[in-house]
């Protein structure tokens, strides 16, 4: 039991009065101090009694959406909590989640207030939240933590005995790479891809970025502003675009303003797609983790509720960091070969050869990431000419390279939507590095 500020003040007053009484040998001060001390002890006993009754009245019932999941999957947990709150007390009950589980969203605690001027009543609440296991094994919710307080005292207890815990969530491991026995059509071939035909109408004019098609340069505007401008033609669209949203990692910094803009842009695009094409497909990823896929959704409200549920920074179970795939390595090898031919210095040549051997060795051992395989499985049955990738570009973009590469392999035009370059880590050379068809800031 802890004393709150009011009780701390009274305790100090009691000590001062008793010391003063001893020094002055004053019965009057002793009476004041001792009665105050007795009152404080009586209040403590009363609080303790109420606290015990409150704890004894707690009933929890926890249900999991699924009891067996793969690592990185999201599970909805619903806990019904009933408690009898004594008068003048506030009771807070929070879930005691095991380590290895991260909360994606929702509330894991609830506060019960006593009903004023009424006898203690049993109150019932439901807390709903979603969790993502980041390690495999058996996860057991150990129980709840109860904290009760009144004006003078505060006490808390972890209720971890059997009636308050469970059920067990079994988390299956998930590999980072696809098993070698499983054949996945991935980015092993570099082919000259046929681009989607563009229309004749000019949708927008924007500044030139490295990698833009030179044939699209608007020379009149370029001459006028002394800066390269390109035309963006409206596509001959007959299929709704796929919307891919790359949600930021919760552990990393991100601009809330940019994120809000991204949410608005995604919602606008989804609405536009439903209005124009009667349905929308949305793929939510966060780094190399596929979170949710909504394929050909016709109901705008359902789409919006899914976006509302997911559009927040999330925890990532898998991270990529400058992850090269086969074509990246091949490009590196080709570059090294050409440099090796150009180099006259034998030591430089030797270095290039040694590096090339390392790349070749890496390429032999290279496996297909599970993310790529999942992406292929998701995109393969999809009918789309274009896809819009929304991302804040706050960290490594290896996963986006994978997304773009797979989309391009399926002859899908990729348009990247990112925050404006000012104040964010994005740069104008992303387009060329990532291989997207267009790149624009959020409207």
């Amino acid at each position: 039991m802890r004393l709150r500020r009011c009780a701390q003040g009274i305790s100090l007053l009691v000590i001062l009065l008793l010391v003063w009484a001893l020094i002055l040998d004053s019965m009057a001060i002793l009476l004041a101090g001792s009665t105050l001390l007795f009152a404080l002890a009586a209040l403590a006993l009363s609080f303790d009694s109420h606290f015990r009754r409150t704890v004894a009245s707690v009933i929890t019932k926890r249900t999991l959406e699924r009891t067996m999941v793969r690592k990185g999957a999201t599970v909805r947990v619903t806990t019904k909590i009933a408690v009898q709150v004594p008068a003048h007390m506030q009771v807070k009950i929070a879930e005691n989640l095991p380590s290895g589980i991260v909360i994606q969203d929702g509330e894991t605690e609830t506060v019960f207030e006593a009903v004023p001027a009424a006898p203690p009543q049993r109150q019932e609440r439901k807390v709903t939240y979603r969790v993502t296991p980041v390690v495999h094994g058996s996860m057991h919710v150990s129980g709840v933590s109860l904290t009760a307080r009144d004006l003078f005292f505060e006490n808390s207890i972890d209720l971890v005995s059997e009636p308050f815990g469970g059920p067990v969530l079994f988390v299956q491991p998930r590999g980072l790479f696809e098993p070698s026995s499983q054949r996945v059509t991935s980015e092993t071939r570099e082919i000259e891809k046929m681009s989607v035909l563009s229309g004749f109408g000019i949708r927008a004019l924007r500044e030139y970025y490295t990698g833009d098609d030179l044939r699209r340069i608007d020379w009149k505007l370029t001459a006028k502003h002394d800066k390269l401008f390109v035309r963006e033609y409206s596509g001959v669209m007959s299929l709704p675009p796929l919307i891919i949203v790359d949600l930021p990692w919760r552990g990393g910094p991100h601009s809330a303003q940019d994120f809000d803009r991204m949410v608005a842009a995604v919602a606008g695009m989804a609405e536009y797609s439903v209005k124009m094409f009667q349905y929308v497909s949305v793929l939510l990823i966060s780094g190399p983790n596929i979170l949710q896929y909504m394929g050909e959704e016709k109901d705008l409200q359902r789409c919006m509720s899914m976006l509302r549920e997911w559009m927040h920074p999330v925890e990532r179970t898998v991270h990529f960091y400058r992850m090269s795939d086969r074509s990246d390595l091949r490009r590196q090898i080709r570059t090294l070969e050409s440099r090796s031919e150009e180099a006259r210095d034998p030591s430089t040549q030797k270095f290039h050869d040694s590096l090339k051997k390392q790349y070749l060795r890496s390429m032999q051992a290279l496996q297909t990431p599970a993310f790529t395989a999942q992406l292929i499985r998701t995109l393969s049955p999809l009918m789309a000419d274009e896809c819009y990738v929304f991302s804040l570009f706050m960290a490594d973009a290896s996963h986006l390279r994978q997304v773009i590469r797979q989309a391009k392999a399926m002859k899908i035009r990729v348009h990247i939507r990112m925050p404006g370059t000012t104040g964010s880590s994005g740069g104008t050379d992303y387009q060329s590095r990532l291989g997207a068809d267009t790149i624009e800031a959020f409207a």
């Binding site: 039991m1 007053l13 019965m27 002793l30 009476l31 001390l37 002890a41 303790d48 704890v55």
Partner: protein
């Protein structure tokens, strides 16, 4: 006006009446102390109507009155303690049911015993030692009870 507010002012009026009666009966030389101390408590009662820590301010402003009254007569001091407790409990809304009134009566009875003990003593030291001993005993018993209680709910073997 809500019931607790009426009650706390009621206890204050009873306190004023009690002070007047005790002052008239005992005719103490320090009679001039009571009016300003009562005014101080009255002001605090009025000013802290909406304050979150009203109870603490009331207790702090009431203690000088308890000491001054007990200096006149221990029983007068005890009466002020009862009234002050009434004001505090009314402020907290803890005088709403019969059970609350029973608790208040029990508190008055217990403080009567304390006051009787103090009245019977000649010096502070002995009652202070008794109070210190009882407080330590209370703390020890509470600690053991708390331990047993926690053991039951934290999944340990009984």
């Amino acid at each position: 006006m809500s019931l607790p507010l009426r009650l706390d002012y009621g206890f204050f009026l009873l306190m004023v009446a009690g002070i007047i009666i005790f002052t008239v009966a005992a005719s103490p030389s320090s009679w001039y102390l009571y009016p300003p101390l009562l005014v101080l408590l009255g002001i605090v009662l009025h000013v802290t109507r909406t304050s979150k820590n009203r109870v603490f301010y009331i207790i702090c402003s009431g203690q000088p009155l308890v000491i001054a009254s007990a200096a006149m007569l221990v029983w007068a001091g005890l009466y002020i303690v009862w009234m002050l407790a009434g004001i505090v409990l009314a402020t907290l809304g803890m005088l709403g049911s019969d059970r609350d009134w029973q608790s208040y009566t029990a508190f008055c009875g217990a403080t009567l015993v304390i006051a009787a003990g103090i009245d019977a003593s000649n010096h502070v030291l002995l009652p202070l030692v008794v109070i210190g001993g009882l407080t330590s005993l209370f703390a020890v018993v509470q600690t053991i009870r708390e331990y047993q209680f926690r053991k039951r709910y934290t999944g340990a073997n009984p």
